[in-house]
């Protein structure tokens, strides 16, 4: 039977004994068990290290002067550096090994664990400078970050409540229980915390609305649907620090007067579900969830609801419909969830990252929080940087950093030293930013001004080999597939916009398509029922604004400048393969091919109508497409 933590004192004791237990382990080996690293085989690595360090290993450790007391081999959540995974972190040395395989394990044990030596081969090597960074926090990727939401990710074992307690876990809850609800709401308001789920709405304000409702039953919901393709911060937090999310949810519950909370997690995150389930169970067993928490009147129940694969269920009314067991179709607002939410009761809904910020604000104070980020957007924001960038991964930085700092200082620049073309921020509902925005600060308001939005913080980087029209088409396809199909403008409008975009990338566009596209886009933006439809035209509108020429190239010149669109790829004759037989020239209906017998022929792309006759005619496969 676990000891019930039913008072502030016992919580402090539990924290101290957890710290003691952690300190007992002179060496801690943390193997990342996030989805990415697991895919790379990190669990096998963990097992191998476990086996290798079992028995009397600690007597063989020579580099710790006053003798090694214990070796802990633990799995952690995602470090955000998934592209380098599987990652192994070794404390107290602070080393981070990348791309570790089972074969590397004996060497790690012999050299690092026993002797404290660094294995340079496994350390992070900067792709352009070739410099080696063995220590985690010195890697440029981490060095420029400020981690609040991600604070414990990769550092603690998410399945061990003790480790969370040792890192001030549930202290904020304890503190809050000594205040009244209004005081808590006031703190969050004063901190200026804004929702990290996309809208950037003031969290304190939202809590106030729910608190104002005089109703017996209220709910809080943690939105872990994270549908934005290309973002995975919520996944990392739920997997890497599940108790933090639960604590945040409980504080929201206490502040708004709710005694039950749902964690809605998307279907694609089974590991997050597993971790959260374990965390809830552990917290319940410890008495941190349930009746009369920490000896107060506050009771709280946390429940998990798994999504089933629908982006639109990230929208709050759809999410609630889904919790109620229905099709996830949004409902008109008003009434707002704060008035009439889950089963008609006042409901507060917050994003995972928003909630993960709450305990820190409570513990460290409003001043501290406001010292980070900008005036209107205080605090930090996590970004998932993916696509054509050197260091793909998950980062957390103060609000207001510029795109340049993020992409180049932390992200390590564009992959393979190609040219930066654009970054899509905020996923399918966001917009694209271009080189001209590199020095713009990333915060809620600056982004809104240029027609983009921070969204959940997905940054998909595109180099100059990406076709922007194709990307716009891709997003439209996404929204069309994910539209719930309820309201006319979104359902039919995205369908027709997709059709037009498809036509353009297929080389069948006409100039009037652009006007039609804009015509539909504005109606869909203004007239749709929910955020999905209202933002669906954003990618089209921003790309049309910044890359108008590229659209025109597709439509008028029938060219795809990035060379991506299949239908617009040009034909050419590979001079190395061409034997000069003239067969192609003879079949070409427009005389686009000329040359002299026995010498490589030439194809005039301007004349070519892409009929493909030459391709089939050439006996040497010398006519190439692309």
């Amino acid at each position: 039977m676990v000891q019930k933590i039913n008072s502030q004192q016992i919580l402090t004791d539990a924290k101290n004994s957890a710290i003691e237990r952690l300190e007992h382990d002179s060496i801690r080996v943390l193997i990342c068990a996030g989805t990415g690293c697991v895919a790379g085989g990190s669990l096998e690595v963990a097992a191998a290290i476990q086996t290798a360090t079992a028995g009397d290993m600690k007597t063989q450790v020579s580099f710790i002067e006053d003798g090694c007391e214990g070796i802990a081999v633990k799995t952690s959540g995602c470090h955000g550096f998934c592209a380098m995974g599987p990652l192994v972190r070794i404390e107290p040395l602070g080393l981070l090994y990348c791309k570790v395989t089972v074969e590397d394990v004996p060497e790690i044990v012999e050299k690092t664990i026993k002797k404290g030596e660094t294995i340079e081969r496994l350390a992070y090597r900067h792709p352009s400078t070739d410099e080696i960074y063995p220590v985690e926090h010195e890697i440029p990727f981490y060095k420029n970050q400020t981690r609040i939401g991600l604070m414990n990710c990769g550092i603690i074992d998410p399945e061990d409540l003790g480790e969370y307690l040792a890192h001030d876990g549930y202290q904020a809850l304890a503190k809050v229980l000594g205040m009244n609800s209004q005081e808590v709401v006031d703190q969050i308001k004063a901190a200026g915390l804004r929702g990290r789920g996309g809208g950037g709405f003031s969290t304190g304000q939202k809590w106030q609305f729910a608190l104002n409702e005089d109703r017996e039953q209220k709910y809080v919901i943690c939105n872990g649907d994270e549908g934005d393709p290309g973002a995975f911060m919520d996944r990392s937090i739920m997997e890497g620090d599940p108790h933090k999310v639960i604590e945040g949810l409980m504080i929201a519950g206490y502040a708004t007067g709710a005694n039950a909370g749902y964690l809605y997690v998307r279907a694609e995150y089974p590991l997050a579900v597993k971790r959260l389930r374990k965390a809830i169970k552990d917290a319940e067993e410890a008495g941190l969830l349930g009746e009369n928490i920490l000896g107060t009147d506050f009771s709280f129940k946390a429940l998990i609801k798994e999504g089933a694969g629908a982006f639109v269920c990230g929208e709050e009314t759809a999410l609630m419909a889904s919790i109620e067991g229905e099709r996830g179709m949004p409902k008109p607002k008003p009434p707002f969830p704060a008035q009439k939410g889950l089963w008609g009761c006042p409901t507060t809904i917050n994003n995972v990252e928003t909630l993960a910020n709450v305990p820190n604000i409570i513990l460290k104070g409003v001043e501290w929080f406001r010292s980070l980020g900008t005036d209107k957007s205080p605090g930090t924001k996590t970004f998932a940087i993916t696509g054509d960038v050197a260091n793909t991964g998950l980062i957390e930085v103060p609000m207001g950093l510029t795109l340049r700092e993020i992409l180049f200082d932390i992200g390590g620049g564009i992959r393979n030293n190609k040219e930066f073309k654009a970054v899509q921020i905020g996923g399918p509902s966001g917009g694209c930013l271009t080189p001209e925005h590199l020095d713009m600060p990333l915060d809620f308001d600056s982004l809104a001004k240029v027609g983009a939005m921070i969204g959940s913080g997905g940054l998909v980087v595109m180099d100059n080999e990406t076709c922007i029209v194709e990307v716009a088409r891709f997003f439209m396809e996404f929204t069309q597939n994910e539209s719930c199909g309820k309201c006319v403008l979104c359902r039919e409008g995205t369908k027709r916009m997709l059709e037009i975009l498809q036509r353009i990338v297929d080389g069948e566009g006409e100039m009037k398509d652009i006007d039609n596209l804009l015509d539909i886009a504005y109606a869909v933006k203004d007239g749709s029922l929910c955020g999905l439809g209202k933002t669906a035209p954003n990618p089209v509108l921003t790309t049309l604004k910044y890359f108008y020429d590229e659209y025109v190239a597709h439509i008028q010149d029938k060219k795809c400048p990035a060379g991506i669109c299949e239908a617009l790829k040009g034909y050419s004759i590979n001079a190395d393969k061409c034997k000069g037989c003239s067969k192609c020239a003879r079949v070409c209906p427009v005389g686009a091919i000329t040359g002299e017998i026995k010498k490589p022929y030439k194809l005039d792309q301007d004349k070519c109508i892409k009929c493909g006759a030459c391709v089939s005619a050439c006996p040497f496969n010398a006519v190439e497409v692309g």
């Binding site: 973002a231 995150y269 798994e306 089933a308 694969g309 109620e324 993916t386 990307v471």
Partner: protein
Amino acid sequence: MAVAISASQRKFERVNEIIQKHNGKKSALIAILQEIQEEYRYLPEEILTYVATAMDLSPATVFGVATFYAQFSLEPKGKYIIKVCDGTACHVRGSGPLYKSIRKKVGLQDGKFTTEDMNFTVETVSCLGACGLAPVVTINEKVYGQMTPEGIEIIIEKLMGKEDNQ
């Protein structure tokens, strides 16, 4: 060895257990369907009708829910379920060509997602949250990151080889 037992009407015992576990609550419909799909690998029509009756819902409503969420399948799937992530990160890193080459490799006809021999089901999914490893493919829950058309072909060949050896 085979023992013949007479085929009685299905009693939907497992389904009943699942429904009972959730107290037949309407709000648990999605969870119930998820568990049923885990049990049967898809959602057979009879079972959905049964679930509707047992939970006092209209079959059309249950059908509506089952067809709304991407996770649910109303048709049996192949032995290997290959999911190609087509989230943004994976898309810009080439998930499109990857998907095409997989379909070609397993010999899928246009408009079909499961091979005739019920061996492979190929589908796209939206972001798996492993974008750092884009493009990502999963085969029966195992995640493969940074995949290339060549790489996945080798994996599929291995799976096919396993088939032929039997």
